[in-house]
């Protein structure tokens, strides 16, 4: 009797275990539900774009990426080294990587991609234009040394090459993916954790996990919808039609705060490579006097703007270089209204001046620029400067800046790559395109010499010092006044798990995302 009971108990336990195992297996075998997220623009510009999709979708991968602190980091290139003269760079490729058409990723594929770069450059894109002479200045030849080693040879030293190559600078696609003109002959075939399987322009795209991905495999299929209006994205989140938002300007701070009142939602803060600035027309009175430009900078309370208009989501800046750059130095953030008044009085005396304060209308879709401009207008009034705010359509705004028909222009500026020399060349170099075209009129011989020297400086520490000094000089010029660095607010439904921002990488962990 005793053994019978034991046997029955044993059988019940065994059956229970079997049923449990079956349930677990069937649950595992079920496909993960599609994760639906949205952005304000189509992240798939298509076959005539140099990259086909945004890096955010993880369809393709670059040789070099950016780590969470903004430094160049290995991706498809595991490591690299440079010759002593800075002219020859050798890249060691990751092994065991397949393109999504199952072609192996190797040195031959890298050479084919560089041949493509030559054919398509210069190529325009909604993300970053591709210009081979800027990313690979003076590139002479690209050679496959062995199956997993590639050598790039340059005419002149290129000490900052990995900084120029991050993400969009070194996107890799299957060699069978190109037309004769170098653009795409079909959907993109990269090495990323996702395959693009469907795209309806300006409507949505669908991504499916690539089962032979070399790294951590993606969990769920993803649908990225295009919802241009921020208010509609807000409602779609509330109605649980979408579960998260991505990309720059994902949601305005005010809408994000409103959503966070609802306990179903959380936010991931993604530091942006975009910062906000005032461009000062230094080619004519009254801002041809550096004291008055400094007065404007001192009068503005950047903390107030970030706290009151951006709900604390923003990083105030004392330097012209966005904190997203690893070369950015934390220069002091000055706010001294009394000193600003004194300087303004020194220049203007008792008289008041009228100035034209412009900003582009497209900025209103993402940022509270109207309120920001009104705040700045109010502090300028205290300095004896009466600013007339004008919101101009994008094209008209650019024309006004180029014609010098403004005194103050407010606009954001992105970092085109991780190498700050590009941006210093535009806005700090005496004959830099932006400096001249926008009538900033900044001239400094020391800064000019440093910018040109840094282009060939092999020693990273010395280059860092040079860039730090350039930032100090540029700050004292007050021709390009930094306000604060932007952050993107990626609001998501808490049912969406694994949705994380990756710091200064300008990326989210889509491959880890799944719906609970």
């Amino acid at each position: 009797m005793h053994s019978f009971v034991h046997r029955r108990f044993f059988l019940v336990v065994l059956w229970s275990l079997l049923v449990f195992l079956l349930l677990v297996c069937s649950a595992l075998a079920q496909e993960r539900p599609e994760v639906i997220i949205a952005g304000h623009r189509d992240l798939v510009p298509g076959e005539n774009d140099p990259y086909y999709t945004s890096t955010l979708l993880h369809v393709w991968e670059p040789l070099v990426t950016r780590d969470e602190e903004g430094w160049p980091a290995p991706m498809l290139a595991e490591s690299w080294e440079v010759s002593e003269d800075g002219r020859v760079w050798t890249f060691h490729l990751r092994r065991g990587v397949l393109f999504q058409d199952l072609t192996p990723f190797n040195a031959e594929a890298v050479v084919a991609n560089f041949e493509r770069y030559r054919r398509i450059s210069p190529a325009n894109s909604p993300f970053y234009p591709f210009r081979i002479h800027e990313t690979y200045p003076g590139l002479k030849e690209v050679t496959a040394i062995d199956e997993y080693t590639v050598r790039l040879t340059f005419e002149e030293p290129v000490p900052a090459l990995p900084f120029l190559m991050v993400n969009f600078g070194s996107a890799m696609f299957s060699p069978r993916n190109f037309r004769e003109d170098g653009f795409f002959n079909g959907f993109p075939i990269g090495t990323g954790p996702y395959r693009l399987v469907e795209h309806k322009k300006d409507e949505y795209c669908r991504l499916e996990p690539f089962e032979h991905y070399w790294g951590q495999k993606a969990i769920s299929p993803i649908r990225v919808r295009v919802i241009p209006q921020a208010e509609t994205r807000f409602s779609a989140l509330k109605a649980e039609e979408i579960f998260g938002v991505i990309d720059i300007g994902a949601l305005t701070p005010a809408l994000a705060m409103e959503l966070l009142k609802d306990e179903r939602f959380a936010v991931e803060v993604s530091p942006s490579t975009i910062a906000h600035y005032l461009f000062m027309n230094g080619s004519r009175p009254p801002f041809d006097d550096v004291r008055l430009r400094k007065a404007v900078s001192l009068a503005i309370d950047r903390e107030f703007i970030v706290r009151e208009l951006y709900y604390g989501y923003g990083e105030v800046m004392g330097t012209i270089l966005s904190p997203a750059s690893p070369f950015s130095v934390p220069l002091p953030i000055e706010h001294d209204l009394a000193e600003a008044r004194r300087l303004a009085k020194e220049v203007l005396g008792e008289k008041r001046v009228q100035v034209r304060f412009i900003f582009p209308s497209w900025s209103l879709e993402r940022y509270p620029y109207k309120e920001q401009a009104e705040y700045i207008q109010s502090v300028l009034r205290e300095l004896g400067i009466d600013a007339q705010i004008q919101i101009l359509e994008g094209g008209a705004f650019n024309e006004a800046m180029k014609a010098g028909e403004y005194e103050i222009a407010m606009r954001n500026q992105g970092l085109p790559n991780a190498e700050p020399n590009t941006i210093f060349t535009w806005y700090v170099l005496s004959d830099g395109a932006g400096n001249v075209e926008y009538h900033l009129n900044f001239k400094d011989q020391e800064a000019d010499a440093l910018i040109l020297q840094a282009r060939r400086e092999m020693d990273m520490e010395k280059r860092f010092q040079m860039y730090a000094r350039v930032q100090e000089i540029a700050k004292e010029g007050y021709h390009w006044i930094p306000l604060f660095n932007n952050v993107d607010l990626l609001v998501y439904n808490k049912r969406l798990k694994g949705f994380r921002s990756l710091g200064k990488k300008y990326d989210v962990t889509l491959w880890e995302a799944y719906l609970e």
């Binding site: 210069p122 909604p126 208010e231 109605a239 650019n398 500026q413």
Partner: protein
């Protein structure tokens, strides 16, 4: 007719001169975020023939148009005819849904308000519709999305897919026009109802509804038909505001993108296609007029 069409081509082409901002700088410079090199600017101009004198560009473009080639988009590099063709079905669907909704509420409402003219219902409906019509489209759309999409989840907030996706954008795009028809038809019917032949019809003992629908409506409807022509003429342009708010992938959104991005080949093609459609629709309405209104037929005198 030929002169009108030629005029449309000239206007379409000269748009690039009228709109501020150099398209090359805007396209390559991405709103000033990048600095295109002079070499790049030169290459772009050469590639799209922008380095030639304006009249040469115009006649080349006109020649291409007559051969059925509307050019390639500056932005996507795809043929603009293909770009527009891909968007038209969505726009037409939304426009027809909006139009049907407008006609439905316009005609029904107009007739009912005329029938119950002066009653409390008439006053109430007129006040409510006036208020509704005074509200900006954007506001009406946001209110409907918030209530019917977000709160009660009756309809999706945005996108295209099932018939349910069509309801809110169609209501928003058609309601303004529907209210206009309703008020116009009511006024027309009340005017017509004061005529002697209506009195004669009533004297013959016809019912009030029969008098209204059979004798007053055909006359009251003629001027409403002109409104149909105006509405249908602009149908291909879609409604950029409604399409943007509801994330509807139609031609209106494409038009907005073309304007902001200074995608002139696309913009020119839009103006041309819309212009031709508008002229065609007006002609169609004139033909309908011919059949519906004997007064406009040549050689016919109505005593």
């Amino acid at each position: 007719m030929v002169l009108t069409l030629l005029g449309i081509t000239v206007v379409a082409f000269l748009l690039r001169e009228a709109i501020p901002g150099d398209p090359v700088e805007i396209l390559l410079g991405k709103e000033g975020l990048f600095q295109p090199s002079p070499e790049e600017v030169r290459l772009f101009r050469t590639r799209f023939g922008l380095d030639r004198p304006l009249f040469v560009q115009y006649f080349r473009w006109l020649g291409d148009v007559l051969r059925g080639d509307l050019g390639r988009s500056f932005v996507t590099k795809r043929p603009v005819a293909q770009e527009i063709r891909e968007r038209l079905p969505a726009t037409l669907l939304l426009a027809l849904a909006g139009f049907s909704f407008a006609v439905l509420i316009g005609l029904l409402g107009g007739v009912f308000l005329a029938f119950w003219s002066g009653s409390i219902v008439d006053h109430l409906v007129r006040v409510v519709t006036l208020l509704f019509r005074s509200m900006p489209t954007f506001f009406v759309a946001v209110v409907l999305i918030t209530l019917l999409g977000e709160r009660w989840r009756v309809f999706p907030t945005s996108g295209m897919g099932s018939w349910r996706h069509l309801v809110l954008p169609a209501v928003v795009s058609g309601s303004g026009f529907g209210i206009l028809i309703m008020r116009l038809l009511r006024t027309n019917l009340l005017q017509v109802l004061g005529n002697d032949y209506i009195l004669a019809a009533r004297a013959r003992g016809l019912s009030a509804w029969k008098v209204l629908l059979k004798h007053a409506f055909p006359n009251g409807f003629v001027s409403v038909l002109t409104m149909f022509g105006l509405y249908l003429g602009g149908i291909l342009g879609g409604s950029p505001v409604v399409e943007t708010i509801f994330a509807w992938p139609g031609a209106g959104r494409l038009l907005v993108q073309a304007i902001y991005g200074r995608d002139f080949p696309l913009l020119q093609a839009f103006v041309l296609v819309f212009g031709v459609t508008y002229v065609a629709m007006q002609m169609l309405v004139d033909v309908c007029y011919f059949f519906l209104n004997p007064q406009v037929r040549p050689g016919k005198r109505i005593v």
